[in-house]
């Protein structure tokens, strides 16, 4: 099979790293070759963050460039727009409806644009919108936004549900397991 590329984009602190690990674990148990690229350090501090997950028969480059992503999982609206050019023709953008003002907006040096998701939809790409924050709070914690969004994407992929559950068990600490399983389920069902 051709190598598939997924990008997980968001704001440092939103839990994108855990999401990419969870995805990596799920794909691995399906016997794909998998590469996951993370950036650590400076960008953790509230900056724009991106991780790449690629899988297939044999994956070479761990990174994704413009026009190459099959899925983009965006944890925040502005980040969805920022990384949109990385989506492949016919790819799917999954966008959390949450908005987080970047510092230039907070201090009044820039404007958070209006109608971000509408503008993305107008380009003709396949856009899936999710209110992951509400679902995460329903599952028990606003921190579970990452697992809710993985659930939304899982509904669009053809991996068995049990594979996802197993990956969550492997990735998440025991005491948050039930909450995360619920978060995944809520995300998954919202997209079905």
């Amino acid at each position: 099979m051709e190598t598939k590329s997924i990008m997980i984009v968001g704001v440092g602190g939103q839990g994108t790293l855990l999401a990419s690990r969870l995805l990596g674990a799920a794909l691995l148990s399906e016997n794909y070759d998998v590469k996951v690229s993370e950036v650590h350090g400076m960008s953790q501090r509230g900056g724009s963050v991106v991780t790449y997950v690629k899988y297939g028969e044999e994956v070479f480059s761990p990174i994704v460039r413009e026009g190459q992503a099959d899925f983009i999982l965006a944890f925040e609206q502005l980040e969805a727009a920022r990384w949109l050019p990385f989506l492949k023709k016919g790819g799917t953008m999954i966008a959390n409806s949450q908005k987080i003002d970047p510092m230039p907006v907070v201090i009044g040096n820039a404007q958070y644009p209006d109608g971000v998701l509408e503008a993305i939809r107008a380009t003709g790409v396949d856009l899936v919108e999710a209110d992951a924050l509400s679902l995460a709070v329903e599952a028990g914690s606003p921190k579970a936004v990452n697992v809710v969004l993985i659930g939304v994407m899982a509904a669009r992929m053809d991996l068995p549900y049990t594979v996802w559950e197993k990956a969550i068990r492997e990735t998440v600490p025991e005491k948050f397991l039930e909450m995360n399983l619920k978060a995944f389920k809520l995300g998954f069902e919202s997209a079905k």
Binding site: K35, G41, P62, L84, K89
Partner: protein, 577 residues
Amino acid sequence: MEKKLLIGNEAVARGLYEAGLRVASSYPGTPSTEITECIAKYDAIYSEWAPNEKVAMEVAIGAAIAGARSFCAMKHVGLNVAADPLFTASYTGINAGMVIAVADDPGMHSSQNEQDSRHYAKAAKIMMLEPSDSNECLQYAKLAFELSEKFDTPVLLRLTTRVAHSRSLTALSERVDNVLSEYKKDPMKYVMMPGMAIKKHVVVEQRILDQIAWSETSEINTEEYNSTEIGVITSGITYQYAKEALGKNASYFKLGCVYPLPVEKIKAFAAKCKKVYVLEELDPFIEEHCKQNGIEVIGKDAFTLQGEYSQSLIKQVILGEKDDSVQTDLEIPARPPVLCAGCPHRGLYYALKKLNVTVSGDIGCYTLGALAPLAMMDTCVCMGASVSALHGRNKADSENAKKSVAVIGDSTFMHSGVTGLINIAYNQSNSTVIILDNSITGMTGHQDNPTTGKTIKGDPTTAVSLELLAKAVGIDRVRVVDPYNLQECEDVLREEIAADAPSVVISRRPCALLKYVKHNPPMHVNSEKCVGCKMCMKIGCPAISIKNKKSVIDFTQCVGCNVCSQLCKFDAIEEGK
């Protein structure tokens, strides 16, 4: 054989473990940090955080001479700090194997420059291996020990960010314990005075010739023959980019050893291809080697000295192909990294802003204080430079000495700030040094250091007292402030900057992200009292924003530090319950 999805750094640690590593000493630095963090999980290995990279490398040299397989890791700029021992360890050689990992950061994801550490290998005449994925990280770490012992030299293992921080499948095996080699007193080998060093230099030059002969036949310099049209000479992550971009349309010569480089093997490869490209990030290191040896190649003329390569760049330059992409016409504001909500540095910077001083800055999370709205840093060069450069500034312009300070973190102060402070005391400049003591090495992701009272394994140990240390070097004026208390910070700083003597102000409050730090309930804005004056926005807290002309506080981010409420003249910011 068990296979796991490991990041490159974790795989390096695993390879070292399997090879019987016994002693590891490092200073954290993105993107190298996780190697030593992962080593610390193996009880069979002694590991530690050293105060800086020079100390770490010297610890590894001592252990290798004593007869234990040893290791140190650092980022590219860390190798500058450790360059002194590096160049002479090349002469002494080792007793048991010694491996040095150095992680370059093309694209500067988390660095202050983009230097290429392959030049160090050549300058110090030390062999350098470069893996291209996690499995090679593990294999090359093991091979590096074998080569170190075969050629009696330390061996450099070069990583770049995308190798260090990408996960790929890695095959694991069992550890083979390495017994301590016998140490024999041998001053001709281990004492580098001119008489001995002159003899050892001859050995070093011969060693390079022997290593070139090895590299001509080594399996880690491999040829993959597909096409006579395009030939690619490459190494590390760029090999992966090239394979994705060109597939079977090109032939590849992949270098696992980037110093010293083979000559005949490259010549033979190049002769088979019509057009030969050298694909390497940063400097034209392999390209210059080829050209010096009369091999015609295309390199930096077609590519770039700056930033990272990618499959897209290679496809575009060599094949002239580009992937289609969509764009909106939205104007998208940048999202730079910021000091976290509750970060103790924020209050201190705000006090400095009110005093309107020139700030000699340093490397750490607090470098983010250079960005708006605090914008309270004037210079940042390298680890420790804040303190020494402030002294230089004040000696150059003593009239303005009462308008300048240095800021430096606890870990950076231990790394190389203390020597600058000794200079301030010894040569008496009227300098005020602020140590931002957040009780952790923050930027690299929370590593302990000599001031935290804990070892790399979390065990209790002695802690350096910054107050006593400052006094011991000759600073009489030493004050401690709580950065969550804006008035106290401002008052103390005003006094110390005005004083006619050198001074140290310790701004003490643990990083808000530390697990043991208890957070208060989130603050909230009483919208009836808020007049929308935006005073609370001046501290640049990511938890505060303006909605409908009033301040609002994001409950998911706020840790209840109470700094914003001290700015509100209308008592509109209230403590949570």
